[in-house]
Point group: C2
Chain length 213, copies 2
């Protein structure tokens, strides 16, 4: 069974403050006699479901085309972890007891996806979303998780004075998948199919993400 956990890209969707969002512009119209319909696309890199590469927050870091594809395809675990307000190291300690191997790819399903008013059910940007606390980011970085996914637009708590979550995770080579829609999937093991555009020299890329299982 396949679960498309990608946010549809459209004009009316929540975007990070200051980001331009998505614009499709039609250039050729069959309705006006053109042989085909053709559109062009413009968008911010961090719109909807997307990857962050190290260069986003680390000067001289790797850009998105250099991310290893083998990390983007393979077994993953969707985990429910309290994000209240954010995922904490204590919550991770409790969810992943010491001595047992940690999944290489973890997608966090927080209160953004559950409850009566999930974050993606709003067209406007939700400042109060659950993210990954700085202590949790260090915890994950120390344990060499290879890929971390979150269910709203950033791994970073909104309004962080410093981007310590991004720096800890990107600095440890963790691939970040932001903007997943995990409302309709249950926690548990899946096979991840996560493919970003092969954009040369970009600090990230929009992606299509599908879970199988």
């Amino acid at each position: 069974m396949l679960h498309d956990v990608t946010v549809p890209l459209r004009a009316a969707m929540p975007v990070w403050p200051g980001e331009p969002g998505v614009r499709l512009r039609q250039e050729k119209f069959m309705a006006r006699g053109d042989v085909c319909n053709v559109r062009t696309l413009s968008m911010g890199i961090h719109t909807g479901t997307h990857l962050d590469a190290p260069e986003h927050f680390l000067a001289g870091g790797a850009t998105v085309e250099a991310l290893p594809v083998d990390v983007l395809l393979g077994p993953c675990m969707v985990v429910d972890v309290p994000g209240d307000p954010h995922v904490s190291a204590a919550a991770l300690e409790s969810r992943f007891p010491a001595g047992r191997p940690l999944p290489e790819r973890i997608l966090f399903r927080t209160r953004n996806s559950t409850g009566p008013s999930p974050a993606w059910s709003h067209v406007d940007f939700q400042e109060g979303f659950a993210a990954i606390g700085h202590d949790a980011a260090r915890w994950l970085a120390d344990r060499r998780v290879r890929l971390v996914g979150v269910d709203y637009l950033s791994v970073e708590p909104y309004g962080s004075p410093e981007p310590l979550t991004h720096r800890a995770l990107l600095g440890a080579g963790v691939i970040l998948v932001e903007g997943l829609d995990l409302r309709a999937v249950a926690p548990g093991p899946y096979t991840l199919h996560c493919l970003p555009l092969r954009l040369e020299g970009a600090e990230g890329a929009p992606a299509r993400v599908v879970l199988e299982g």
Copy 2:
């Protein structure tokens, strides 16, 4: 083993005549004191490796977000077929003897990918590329192949007076993957991972395509 058969998206790449190509514009610069690097993207939908949805050539046809994901992930066959000048029904008859089941997903590796001067080795657009002849398109459409991939920018022979290849294949519900780079893969069976952006209301979408096997 994973083979990335996606063309890297960059400013200097061949595009269909009239298409705008790819532009990355940097909006935030760590080198100038911003907390992170941020870029925006603009591009034609049919740049590099991409999918065509029915609405590209069929008025009122399905747009790309409606394509079934299960067709985009699964077993595929990379086949060498003479494209001289274009893949013909006769070549397909000879490659796929009657009475044997046809692969559901076929990626054609033509003279675009082989020989001393493959099409993708040129930065400028190559008008003389091998495509799928109109008779071959009807042959594939009649046999209910679900996905067809080609190794340059269109399934349509350049300069066709009418887009009969597109119409035959899209009209039969065949998903078209154009702009694959098959120079480095051998013919044979693979698992296809083909994920286009989830662009609502678009006649196609750029995609990342990886072969496993």
